[in-house]
Amino acid sequence: MTDFLPIIAQVDSGALGISYLAIGPELILAFGAALILMVDVFYKPRHTVHAGIVFSTLVLATATAILQYDRVQEGATIHFSGMIVADDFAVFGKFLLLLVAALGLLVAWPMVEQLGRRGAEGVALVLLSAAGFMFMVAGANLMMVFLGLEIGSISLYILAGITRESVISDEAALKYFLLGSFASAIFVYGVALAYAGTGELSLSGIAAQLPATAIVLRPGVVLAAMALIITGLLFKVTAAPFHAWAPDVYQGSPAGIVGYMATAAKVAGFAALARILYVSFGSFADDWGPALAAVAAISVVLGTLMAIMQTDMRRLLAYSGVAHAGFILTGIVGGQLRAVWFYLAVYVVQLIAAFAVVSVIAGPTGSVSPLDDYKGLAKRSPYLAGALTVMLLALSGMPATAGFIGKLGVFTSAWGGGYEWLVVTGLVASVAGFFFYIRIMVLMYMQEPVLAEAPGADVAKPYVSPNVEVVLAIAIAITIFFGIYPTPLLNFLG
């Protein structure tokens, strides 16, 4: 494992320390969510009031995260009886989740307005889930990770079905809930076995017990615990073969919120996965490494092949997400977590922006996005088509976009970790991936729009809300800038 920093191993896990700064962003987000719900119940204000609360909540949370970043430069610390860790890793995760929440809410705002009174609940749920996922990335104890996972996931289940009227959306929510709970159960079973095997729940405690366990107890229990924990998290990040729920859920959920749903869970899932693997099970790397590499290869290949066959934009993005999960895992098995963070950071921005375009085409609460809707988009809205093209090129890993630097990073990581075959698999799959990314560009630029029976406004020029324009502009700027000059972000990440 090349330049991996053992994140919390060196910290004394017994220290009891109350630090509100360590959970500052989480507290502020949870408070903001509660405030929105209360204000909504008592005053029934216009949505601009909610927007104001959300904005100040996010600004305050970001400010706290910056303070926290400043603090962790002096070294990682552990708080609340070994439950919460404040370190670089956690702060990166929080920054990223705040970014995702901010962009996701901007994209979702037209949906929030369409939902009327229920809109406030949607906003509160986004903030709550972000707080939960933050606990997950900052968890130093498997119980804490599980709690964070559940807070975040349950909020997402509800968000998937927030447009109650749509049957497809309800179906998506139910599927997400059932399969997601199943995965959580698997995860928690793994936690239980880890406790049975080592007598510890804290991440560094497990690591400390492992060498002893391997001799005294049967390591089978520990291996089973590891496998179950990894499986539970792989489900959340849509890695194959645990991805089957993603296309249905992405397709059925309200268009405005899919971007947030897809990205927030991935940020937290990958962060927790990387932390648990390297901190708790670092000494078992020879056991989980090849297995995870196999999962990465399957995800990349299967995700790409399935994406080629899709006829719905959102299912396509879901399967491309499976492939991307494989690429991120490629980086994780290699051990260079900086490359993984970079990949995640730019990928989530691209994905949210792509879903922003989807939400414009399908309507903020729309439930399906057939590819035919994208025919001739370049003539109807050159801006949308151009933005989506940049995002698709970045997702495909085209050089001069941040997607390429991300891929280069994870491939370098895997090559350095001795997984050359995984790099070659990933590269070949990237080329196959061009098939479907390019197909969308063909639809947008080289085919004529499908004319609806009634010459409605929908086909003419899609209405792009200023929010979406802002999100797309930010995403394009990030994608191109870090594609050409990735140095600042890479330096920031370690």
Binding site: T412, V424, V431, F434, L490
Partner: protein, 514 residues
């Protein structure tokens, strides 16, 4: 801060693209003229670069090396030597000419001009990059604008052609990226740090097996780009379906990315593998020469004929590259430039014919010279240049390649020489059917002769055919030391010895072998 001419060459087309993008769509008549005007800036820079380039120096000039991301060993490292110099100038020249030839494009001109300028930046970037990641970046970026140029403004089967072009070439470069990463890690194993710097990677000690694999990874990418038989099937589709400007840029410069890559990277980084694979590459080159020419002869479509003639001509370049003699490699480089000029003109003129008659079928024409004598004259002149008539540029390149190859690959050189004869057959026979004889099709009576715009955009290229044909030293003087350096390195690292060129070589003025 020092003025970096190479940075400026990459950035000015991008800046021009941004400026054009800011011109609103309702003033669409401005996009093309503005694009042509702005593309004169990189042309002027390239012209200055060509003459400011110091002769007799083998190394890189105008180098700019600044760190990009040090932990991964990436840097913004650009420089120009004799091998890349002329190709940069060619690129900068062909862009304004292709734009000026694109008056037929009326749909979304803004996007078209923007893509052409991004293409230019990418192409120049490929030729100047001395960092492998930077090289790969430009090598890939070129695909996107070309893909759109073919797919949006192309002919009937444009979508199929664009798809095929993109996937084919992307597949090749994916494995090259694996090779690049592998090289960086070899560097780490031998020195302790990752590096993508071309000049540092030259110091690596690679085993024969590693060299063969890496040669394959790089070579496949370049072989698809060239294209070398049997990887050429994307080329006829892409060339035929692309709009005129696209064909000119494809044939003129894009194909050279492959041949340039072979000389720069395969010969430079993997000398042992190069020596070992000479028979394979030479055989494929000769097959390409003969096969391309034969297929060109039977084409009923003028544009397809020119496309297949490219397969044949590029075979000469590959043959010269792997003959590994001073004259042959120099001939290969100069032939890259020549092919860009002559094939560029042929595609431009086929495009002009198409604009007049809306057909490219040879059978639809006949007797054009009676109504358009100047047009026929320029076409014949270019055909002669392409065939390799002494005094014109094609002769210099093909003769140097054949003569240089004869020293090391006599059989291949003899078979390759048939390619010259076949070129005369397909080009002159096509000329005969299109331009001579009586006018059989009444529609051909109204074919207009060259107009002022067309004359002005063909004139510089036609002039260059004469200049290079009569005074090849304008390129050779700048080229020779760099080629010598490439061959010296192969001699130094392998048991191969570059044969003594002999006295005839001096007559050609090809060498400063002091």
């Amino acid at each position: 801060m020092k003025f970096q001419i190479l940075d400026a060459l990459i950035l000015t087309p991008i800046a021009a693209a941004v400026i054009i993008a800011l011109v609103p769509n309702r003033r669409s008549e401005l996009h093309l003229p503005l694009g042509i005007t702005l593309s004169m800036i990189p042309l002027a820079l390239a012209g200055w670069l060509f003459f400011a380039f110091e002769k007799g120096i083998a190394g890189y000039q105008f180098v700019h090396d600044s760190p990009w991301y040090e932990p991964w060993g990436m840097s913004w490292h650009v420089g120009v030597d004799g091998i890349s110099l002329a190709l940069i100038a060619l690129t900068a020249l062909l862009v304004p000419i292709s734009l000026a030839a694109s008056t037929a494009i009326t749909d979304r001109t803004k996007l078209f001009v923007v893509f052409m300028l991004i293409l230019e930046a990418g192409l120049i970037g490929v030729f100047v990059a001395l960092d492998l990641i930077l090289f790969f970046l430009f090598f890939e970026v070129v695909l996107v604008p070309m893909y759109f140029i073919i797919g949006v403004w192309g002919g009937e089967r444009r979508i199929y052609a664009a798809y095929k072009f993109f996937i084919y070439t992307a597949l090749g470069s994916a494995l090259m990226l694996a090779g690049i990463i592998a090289l960086a890690f070899f560097h780490r194993d031998q020195t302790g740090v990752l590096s993508f710097s071309y000049q540092e990677l030259l110091n690596l000690e690679l085993t024969d097996t590693a060299q063969l694999w890496l040669f394959g990874a790089f070579g496949l990418a370049f072989a698809i780009k060239v294209p070398i038989f049997p990887l050429h099937t994307w080329l006829p589709d892409a060339h035929v379906e692309a709009p005129t400007a696209g064909s000119v840029m494809l044939a003129g410069v894009l194909l050279k990315l492959g041949t340039y890559g072979f000389i720069r990277f395969n010969l430079g980084l993997f000398p042992d593998a190069t020596i070992e694979l000479i028979p394979v590459m030479a055989t494929l080159a000769v097959i390409g020469i003969i096969y391309g020419a034969y297929v060109a002869i039977v084409q009923p479509d003028l544009k397809k004929l020119v496309a297949y003639s490219s397969v044949s001509h590029l075979g000469f370049i590959i043959l010269g590259t792997f003959a590994l003699t001073q004259a042959a490699v120099e001939g290969a480089v100069i032939q890259m430039v020549n092919h860009g000029i002559t094939t560029g003109v042929l595609f431009l003129m086929v495009g002009m014919l198409y604009e007049r008659r809306h057909t490219k079928k040879i059978a639809d024409f006949g007797g054009i010279w009676q109504v358009a004598p100047w047009f026929s004259g320029v076409f014949l002149f270019t055909a002669f240049a392409s065939i390799g008539l002494p005094g014109l540029n094609g002769f210099v390149g093909e003769f140097m390649v054949l003569m240089g190859s004869y020293a090391t690959l006599p059989v291949a050189a003899i078979f390759g020489a048939f390619g010259v004869v076949l070129a005369a057959i397909y080009l002159l026979w096509a000329y005969e059917r299109v331009f001579t004889g009586p006018i059989t099709n009444e529609e051909n009576r109204n074919v207009a002769d060259l107009n002022a715009r067309e004359v002005s955009l063909l004139a510089p290229l036609v002039a260059l055919m004469l200049v290079i044909g009569l005074y090849p030293n304008i390129i050779l003087d700048r080229l020779t030391p760099s080629v010598e350096a490439v061959l010296d390195r192969i001699e130094a690292t392998t048991t191969y010895e570059v044969p003594d060129p002999g006295p005839l070589y001096e007559v050609l003025g090809g060498g400063h072998s002091d």
